[in-house]
C-alpha cells in the first residue's frame, strides 16, 4: 500500500521541488545581475499560462508522442532513483539501468523535433546529442569507478556503504577525482552554461524548443522540473552519501544546485566543439585518473 502511494506521489513531489528550483534559479540569476527578479513561483504561472493557451499547433502524431516520451522517460528514470523512504524499484534496476533509461527523454525529443522540420530545432537536437556524447563519457566513467570502488552497481547499496562512517565514507571524499569529474559532467547534463550549447537562445532560438508552443512547452517545463530533481539526486546518491531524511536531501540539493548556478552565471557559452573537447579532456581524464587510482 505504502509503495503504491509512493509510486503515485513521488513524481508529484519531485515536480513540486523541481519547480521551486526553477524559480530559485531565475531569482538567483536576477539577484546576481542586481535585478529584483520574478517571483519564486514564476514557473508555476508560466506553466498555467502555457497550458491554458487557446490554440495549439501540432506537427503530426510523432510530435505529440515525443512529448509523452519525454515526460514518461523522465518519470521512469525517477522511479529507479532511491530517495529516503522509497527504494522499491532500485532493487530491480541498478546504476547501469539508470544510465540507459536516462537517454530515453533525449531520444524522444529528437524524434519529435525531427517531425517539426525546423532547421533550428534540428541543429539544437544534433547539438544536444553531441553534448550527450560529451558529458556521458565522464559521467559513465565515474559511475563505473564508484561501482568498482564499492564492489556494487546497486545505487541503494552504494548509499548504505557511504552512510556507514559519516562524511569520511562519502564518495567525494573517498575518491575526489571521480566526484569532480561527475560534478563537471553534471553541469553539462543540466544544460547550464558554459555547456548550454543546445539551447543557445541568441544563436539557434532555443534549439529543440523552437517549434514548441503552448501545451507542448508546458509539458517540457514540467519535464524540466522533474529532470532537475533527478539529476541532482543521482549526483547526491553517488557522491554525497545519499540522504537519510528529506530535509537532508533538499539541503544537499540546494547546495549542489547553487554551486552549478554560480558557475552558470559567470560563464559565457562554449562553442559546440570546444564544449565536447573540454568534456572529454578535463573531466574525462580526471575520471580515468580516478579509476586508475582505484585499480592500483
Amino acid at each position: 500500500m505504502n509503495t503504491v502511494l509512493w509510486i503515485i506521489f513521488y513524481p508529484l513531489i519531485a515536480f513540486c521541488i523541481g519547480i521551486l528550483y526553477m524559480g530559485y534559479s531565475r531569482k538567483f540569476n536576477a539577484r546576481v545581475e542586481r535585478r529584483y527578479g520574478p517571483s519564486w513561483i514564476q514557473p508555476i504561472y508560466d506553466i498555467f499560462k502555457l497550458m491554458s493557451k487557446r490554440t495549439n499547433i501540432s506537427h503530426g502524431w510523432m510530435h505529440d508522442i515525443s512529448i509523452l516520451m519525454l515526460l514518461g522517460g523522465t518519470i521512469l528514470t525517477l522511479m529507479f532513483i532511491p530517495v529516503p523512504g522509497f527504494s522499491f524499484f532500485s532493487q530491480y534496476g541498478d546504476m547501469l539501468v539508470i544510465m540507459y533509461i536516462i537517454l530515453i527523454p533525449s531520444l524522444g525529443m529528437a524524434l519529435g523535433v525531427g517531425e517539426t522540420a525546423n532547421p533550428n530545432g534540428s541543429i539544437g537536437i544534433s547539438r544536444a546529442l553531441m553534448m550527450l556524447a560529451g558529458y556521458d563519457v565522464p559521467f559513465a566513467l565515474s559511475f563505473i569507478g564508484m561501482g568498482m570502488l564499492n564492489h556494487t552497481t546497486s545505487m541503494f547499496r552504494l548509499i548504505q556503504i557511504q552512510q556507514a562512517h559519516g562524511i569520511a565514507s562519502w564518495g567525494i571524499v573517498t575518491n575526489p577525482l571521480l566526484g569532480l569529474a561527475a560534478l563537471i559532467a553534471l553541469q553539462g547534463m543540466m544544460g547550464e552554461k558554459p555547456f548550454e550549447v543546445y539551447i543557445a537562445p541568441h544563436e539557434i532560438a532555443t534549439g529543440p524548443m523552437t517549434e514548441m508552443g503552448g501545451k507542448f512547452l508546458g509539458m517540457m517545463f514540467i519535464t524540466h522540473a522533474i529532470t532537475i530533481f533527478v539529476e541532482l539526486t543521482i549526483f547526491i546518491n553517488l557522491f554525497l552519501g545519499g540522504a537519510v531524511t528529506w530535509i537532508d536531501l533538499i539541503l544537499k540539493q540546494v547546495v549542489v544546485f547553487t554551486l552549478i548556478l554560480s558557475v552558470n552565471i559567470v560563464f559565457g557559452r562554449f562553442r559546440v566543439d570546444d564544449a565536447m573537447r573540454f568534456m572529454w579532456k578535463i573531466p574525462g581524464s580526471l575520471a580515468v585518473l580516478g579509476i586508475l587510482f582505484i585499480i592500483f
Binding site: 535585478r35 517571483s39 517549434e211 508552443g213
Partner: protein, 190 residues
C-alpha cells in the same frame, strides 16, 4: 476601443489572474525603438518583475512588440510571425510610426497604420517612448488581461476578411501558411 463586457466563469477569472503574471514577448525590432528595450529588461527597470521575459520564437510568445516603422517587406514577415503565435496573443504597437506613420508619413515603403493589418491591443505613443512608458503600457495590458477585456486577438479570427483585404491591398496575392478561418472553427474562437 470600446470595451465589451462578457460573462466570465470563475475558472476564467482564476486563469486570468495567473496568466497576467506570465507574459512572454517577442520583440520584432524593426525601427529605432529597439534601443529602449535593453534598459527595460536589465537592472534599471527590470521587467522580469512582472513576469515579462523576452522570447526568441513566435511559437512561445504571447506579446508581439513592434518597435517602430514597418516597411512593406517587414510587414509580411510580421504577419507570418503573428499567425504562428498561439492565442491568446497581443500586438503592442510601439512609437508613433506604428500609429500614424510618424516621421515616415511621406515614405513610399512604409505602412502608416498597423491596426489595418493586425489587431493591435495597445499603442505606446512617443518617438521613441521611454522605458517608463513601456512598463506603463505593460501594466495596462496586465490590467486588461485581469479584467478579461484584452480580446483584440479574437478580432483576427472573427474579422479576418477585413485584415486580409488590407493585407492584399499592400501585397497583392500573398501566401500565408495558416488557415485562420478553419483554425477559428477548430478551436472554437468566437
Amino acid at each position: 476601443m470600446k470595451q465589451k463586457i462578457t460573462q466570465r466563469s470563475a475558472w476564467d477569472r482564476i486563469l486570468a489572474k495567473l496568466n497576467k503574471r506570465s507574459l512572454w514577448m517577442l520583440h520584432y525590432c524593426t525601427g529605432c525603438g529597439a534601443i529602449e528595450l535593453p534598459p527595460t529588461m536589465t537592472a534599471r527597470f527590470d521587467m522580469e518583475r512582472f513576469g515579462i521575459v523576452p522570447m526568441v520564437t513566435p511559437r512561445q510568445a504571447d506579446i508581439l512588440l513592434i518597435t517602430g516603422y514597418l516597411s512593406i517587406k517587414t510587414l509580411k514577415r510580421i504577419i507570418l510571425s503573428y499567425e504562428q503565435m498561439q492565442a491568446p496573443k497581443w500586438v503592442v504597437g510601439f512609437g508613433s510610426c506604428t500609429i500614424n506613420g510618424g516621421m515616415y508619413w511621406n515614405s513610399y515603403t512604409t505602412i502608416k497604420r498597423l491596426d489595418m493589418y493586425l489587431p493591435v491591443e495597445i499603442y505606446i505613443a512617443g518617438c521613441m517612448p521611454r522605458p517608463e512608458a513601456i512598463i506603463q503600457s505593460f501594466d495596462t495590458l496586465i490590467n486588461r488581461i485581469d479584467k478579461g477585456v484584452a480580446n483584440s486577438w479574437k478580432d483576427y479570427y472573427t474579422n479576418y476578411d477585413f485584415y486580409r483585404k488590407n493585407q492584399e491591398k499592400v501585397f497583392g496575392e500573398i501566401e500565408t501558411y495558416n488557415d485562420i478561418k478553419s483554425d477559428a472553427e477548430k478551436f472554437g474562437i468566437k
